[in-house]
Amino acid sequence: MNELLIYLIFLTGLFAVVFIKNIIKKIFGLGIMNSAVVLLFIVRGAEIGESAPILENTVYNVVDPIPQALMLTAIVISVCITALALGLAYNLYLTYRTFDIDELRDKIES
């Protein structure tokens, strides 16, 4: 059930990146896809344990810490990509006053 929902979230993002023409929404789609991947790792990694991976005296049987550590990196990288893409989109908007990617290509190549 959870995986199916995450898959749908991923598809929403992918659809936006491929088919929506507005650059900002493409970048939204990228963020959503990334959230879906992070959710996938965390949801599956939480299956094997029942407490947070912080060891104290009474804690045992923790969830898998590896996906969590990897996803920390993935989240930060995704935000960096978003920021750079936004900078590029803003510059393009400043010059051509549009966010539509096909229109931008036409204006640039003419």
């Binding site: 995986e3 199916l4 995450i6 898959y7 991923f10 598809l11 992918l14 659809f15 491929v18 088919f19 996938l40 599956r44 990694g45 299956e47 094997i48 344990g49 947070a52 991976p53 912080i54 060891l55 104290e56 045992y60 923790v62 969830v63 898998d64 810490p65 590896i66 969590q68 550590a69 990897l70 920390l72 990196t73 930060v76 990288i77 960096c80 990509i81 920021a83 750079l84 936004l86 900078g87 590029l88 803003y90 510059n91 400043l94 010059t95």
Partner: protein, 196 residues
Amino acid sequence: MRIIKKIIGFITFTLASLFIGILMLTRIPWPTELRDIYETNTIQETGAPNIVSAIYLGYRAYDTLGETIVLFIAAMGTLYLLRHAQKSLFIATDSTKETLTYKTRRTSIIKVIVSKLGPAIIIFGMYIMAFGYRSPGGGFQGGSVLASGIVILSFVFIENKSKYMAITQMLKKIEVMVFILLLVSFFLACLQALFF
């Protein structure tokens, strides 16, 4: 022609997403081997009760270095882009100069709330940084909380542009110092790995 292209697009999209779906929906029992290894060894080897912090900043610190560098380059590239955007805008027309002085409405409600909330956020960020090894959090998370605290405060307290420029100069210096600190700590970690 356009319609054909669109149909091809939809078909390929559907097929590719079907494959991704197979990958995401295959259920295999999650492996526990690495978890067990970390559970038994982390405290002896690193001294940090928080396993995620231990992995993020210890076992896989090399990944974190790469991630920090991605962050650094993205910040540098974005600032470069914005600087050039403003330059080209100034050249383009004189009338657009005003576009860069934003007229924002700062009501007193925002001012009061932010001036109370900002320091609290900054202290929370410092707490997360300092106690990341035993409670959730760590350097990066704390740093980003701290940064959002500073950003929120700067929304309210930067009145004119000259002050803003002074702050960017200071931030530039902080950026350099932090990068050097990062590298120095990396070197120290290397040395520690070599000699001790």
